[in-house]
Symmetry: C2
Subunit: 634 residues, 2 copies
């Protein structure tokens, strides 16, 4: 209730939107980073005329199947831009939304046609302010000079555990100034409507810095007995206190009832919003006739319809092509795709030269060069992921990617889960994917990470083995605009293997070589990524001894399990229980594939600091180990 004045002014006076088309491209974006206060946002969407939130929906707050879940979810409620609740994510998403606007405006606006032009507003609370992700993202927002990002800091001094004095005594204003933000303080946020209006005016006038408006409020303002208490943080007032509050505020109406005069006041947003969109559509039509090339690109970003035939840009490989690390192959794909995908934009958390993520034809997205497409995130993995979520959810044709070492997904898992949940098709370029990175040692060597993403819903975990599979992984990842992809890529050089293909990769698991007939090999060897080569070599040896051996690449489990039963049976026939898997990572989960009679070769302990070849040998990730296991199970 303390945020009601800010919310009211934003939705009723400041923001430009069309309630009947929540996806209108040039709308102002609003993010409630303090997602537990979502009833405020639902009420504002309802008043503003959004169809997703009718009176009935408000009454179904936090109930099964409702459009009004316990935290704002973009995939449930049109009008909600991003998914918040986990603290700090929202403000970082807002940085991504503002980055997207600044980038598109710089790239497509013309002196005679300002076709991209909107603000991004955000409300965040003390909880968001304490989270490290918020500091990461806000440091970048200051660095990039995102002048059209305006954040309201709801400074109510209360978090769940009580007064923020118990754990939060830093000087937030000064910290934001140090991060390069313009800071304004509204001392009476409960009733200071004019001060809030003036602050927004001032914020808009500062075009080279993001602005934080600190609004000092009373949590639960209006409630005579519970205001200024942690007991209203994300919890209901209770019937008795609701009555007292109504009386206190002089509000005589029934619950959920919107008086006619209020309805009438807000009703103008429907025609006004339609007019705003119509005006923009006319402007875009003029732009299109004058700048057809730019308009076509922008249209692809706005609509999410990727340019026809884009996937033809992906190269293919034969076993004769010299081998390469999949991280380098990934860079080849990014550079092949950049010219044909206008929405491709991204970068690394200070590891561009290790993750191989630079698009060579572009410069850096920076304060003075926002039209460029290489983003420098600094060592800020969590902020990076959430900023990419914001970019992805800004417009459906954006294809944001970001990168770090695979092990440091641990730093950004909060944002990656939100990618998966909120249907943000971010591509996570994760290199140095196993003990194969060698000398950096166990702090840098992923073990459990593949399993941890295979267990997560709605995310695609890829571990390509060579050039064709890296191309295939990019094909699916780019197409998957509502599902994020994680690409685990090698530091070390890998050969191009016989039988790999883009087509096979899109099925997740497929046979690459087989010397059996009738779908009945003596044994099936299953590998992923850098260990597929080991499986192929072991198969060669076993075949020399007269065995029939199938080698299966299991590049993406999720895709495989989405195939038809018939297809799955054609790759992993239920009659063949002699199965051996090899992967330089945890064996956790592999039982599903190798079955009770099979054997999973992997690593269920920490890695080591040593040259990669030495570690592989000491850990038994070898051709010999596969041969021995194959003989044991078949």
């Amino acid at each position: 209730m303390g945020c009601a004045p800010m919310g009211h002014i934003l939705y009723d006076e400041v923001m430009r939107y069309n309630p009947k088309n929540p996806y209108w491209f040039n709308r102002d974006r609003f993010v409630l980073s303090a997602g537990h206060g979502c009833m405020l946002q639902y009420a504002l969407l309802h008043l503003a005329g959004y169809d997703a939130v009718k009176e009935e929906d408000l009454k179904q707050f936090r109930q099964w199947g409702s459009k009004t879940p316990g935290h704002p979810e973009n995939f449930e409620t049109p009008g909600v831009e991003v998914t918040t609740g986990p603290l700090g994510q929202g403000i970082a998403n807002a940085v991504g939304l503002a980055l997207a606007e600044k980038h598109l405006a710089a790239r497509y606006n013309k002196p005679d046609a300002e076709i991209v032009d909107h603000y991004t507003y955000c409300i965040l609370g003390d909880g968001c302010q304490m989270e490290g992700i918020a500091n990461e993202a806000c440091s970048l927002a200051g660095h990039w000079g995102l002048g059209k990002l305006i954040a309201f800091y709801d400074d109510n001094h209360i978090s769940i555990d009580g007064d923020t004095e118990i754990a939060f005594t830093e000087n937030v204003d000064k910290r934001f100034e140090s991060l390069g933000w313009h800071v304004i303080w509204v001392k009476n946020g409960n009733t200071g409507y004019d001060e809030i209006r003036a602050a927004i005016q001032e914020a808009k006038a500062v075009t080279d810095k993001p602005t934080m408006i600190k609004v000092t409020t009373t949590i639960g303002f209006g409630s005579p007995n519970k205001a200024n208490s942690y007991s209203v943080h994300g919890a209901a007032l209770g019937a008795k206190e609701v009555d007292a509050t109504r009386q206190n505020l002089g509000w005589p109406y029934e619950p959920f009832h919107v008086p006619d005069e209020v309805k009438k006041h807000w009703s103008r947003h429907t025609p006004d919003g339609a007019a705003l969109e119509a005006e923009w559509n006319a402007k875009f039509a003029a732009y299109e006739s004058k700048y057809p090339e730019e308009a076509a690109e922008l249209k692809s970003i706005v609509t999410g319809v990727l340019p026809a035939g884009w996937e033809k840009a992906l190269p293919t490989y034969t076993p004769e092509t010299p081998g390469d690390a999949t991280r380098n192959l990934s860079q080849t794909m990014l550079n092949a795709l950049a010219p044909v995908l206008p929405g491709l934009i991204g970068g690394s958390a200070d590891l561009a030269s290790s993750n191989m993520t630079l698009m060579k034809m572009f410069g850096d997205f920076q304060k003075a060069t926002p039209e460029e497409r290489n983003v420098r995130f600094g060592v800020r993995e969590h902020g990076m992921g959430a900023i990419c979520n914001g970019i992805a959810l800004h417009s459906p044709g954006f294809v944001p990617y970001c990168a770090t070492f695979f092990v440091f997904t641990d730093y950004m898992r909060g944002a990656m889960r939100i990618s998966a949940l909120s249907e943000a098709g971010v591509i996570y370029v994760m290199t140095h994917d196993s003990i194969g990175l060698g000398e950096d040692g166990p702090t840098h060597q992923p073990i459990e990470h593949l399993a941890s993403f295979r267990a997560m819903p709605n995310i695609l975990m890829f571990r390509p083995a060579d050039g064709n599979e890296t191309a295939g992984a990019y094909k699916v990842a780019v197409e998957s605009r509502k599902r994020p992809s994680v690409l685990a890529l090698s530091r070390q050089k890998l050969p191009n293997l016989p039988g790999t293909s883009i087509e096979g990769t899109t099925k997740g698991g497929y046979t690459i070589t087989d010397n059996s007939t009738g779908n009945k090999p003596d044994v099936i060897l299953i590998g992923t990524g850098s260990e597929l080569e080991i499986a192929v070599k072991a198969a060669d040896e076993l075949r020399k001894e007269g065995k029939t051996v199938r080698v299966v690449s299991f590049v993406s489990w999720e895709l495989f399990y989405e195939q038809s039963d018939e297809y799955k049976e054609s790759v992993l026939p239920s009659g063949v229980t002699a199965r051996v898997s090899i992967e330089a990572g945890s064996t956790f989960g592999w039982d599903r594939i190798v079955g009770s009679a099979g054997k999973a070769i992997g690593i269920d302990k920490w890695g080591s600091s040593a040259p990669a070849g030495k570690i592989y040998k000491e850990y038994g990730i070898t051709v010999e180990a596969v041969i021995a296991a194959a003989k044991q199970v078949s």
Copy 2:
């Protein structure tokens, strides 16, 4: 090389340590948060006389089995306090080390006996500064007024991707001032030895704030061609440039050769260190005779020998005991253990009243009350985990715990992995462990988290079902001082079940009820946590229909798989393939337990916002589903 002057002054002039006993309790602690520069630390440990790092070890840098891995690892190299490399962890560990010192000093020092008295030093770089975890931990350090924490910020303007200008233009000094730190700037860190000495003096004089000494250095200082370049960030100079550097610095000696005069200069640290420890031992003996009670407590913390019989404080339960949420039972355990475990200290990330983590007999650890044992971390999960690692690794008898909602382990996984790797026995109290939390919805409902920790090496994942199992989980967690534990606890009330026990829980998986004979039940039902009740009810129904049914609690997979083959066979006989598991989380990994012929009931999609009972029903986590599956498989 830019950090060499700071390192030299610290190890040669400032720090108090005993190289022949790297674990001497009252030593000053040093943390190299910029862990990629570990050769400097190895060289200093070698010069100072630590036995772990001989000349031979320096030559084996980053080789198999060496004491000098690619990043500092406390479990490999005595003298290294914590494990760093993943950026930002080290400075947060340092906050934990300094917290531990401040707490023990306040609790045990007497006007006539300052028995706890050491500093914590840390070197961090630009990379650490960008990480959110560092801001979280440093905000707390300022809030707590950790006056004996002195951090050196190696301000070399270079990160892996090049000049920090590309992504890091904030005002770090001002940010640290806003966080409540004292800030000093040494402008010439390459050669300004006296300035560094003076800064340390000044820092020690400021006792109510931590100090950050910004030391402006040149990366690779001394290298004539590569200094001030990103090419030396974590990479070797190369033979040619090493020669040029030697010449430039006027250093004529062979590689790894320490000239006699240098050896002689440093040799005093061995007798000096022994004298420091002897002096302290005498002081402690006097303390012990005067304050036997306090000395006994402190001794337990210093040695890690827990007070005899502490586990008798854990309560037990019968099916007649009224049911309760396991988060509440966890609070009962914490409050039962607090009086008998002097090293128990911890708290929550602003969710104490939801996670139920308050020790009721103690107040809050705060700047003015550092002797208290409830820690208020604010909404800073990642910093919290790393601070607890620092506490755990300060002294082996500390039993630090920390808490948030289970889903937010995603925010702190970087620190949790380091707990597991660096053998820090932190207890992670993770409540609201499934869809059973209800209305908060999918952003707050864990799905893949149990699987993600079961796949991680050296961590114990517990999901207790009732009072006895919560007690059992605490028994193992407290005993496990070199392995962290994660306790997934329910928000909702659960009954005390027949057959559960502390003893059974310590085995990870055990039979709680069975109406079969000869280790041959018709079907085995396996559950964890809140779903064990469902398995018990399904068994009751199936038995009414004449089936023999065993119900197994699988409270900790890791512990079960560490039991003897004989024991495992007694619980899950290989001849009984009719197995059904039920758990309100991802089925990923359950195939290992239920086998190819069994069935795993779980949730492989996102949760929902609705009352818990409704979600359980809609998601098929029900008695009926277990009965149907049991009939299908048996």
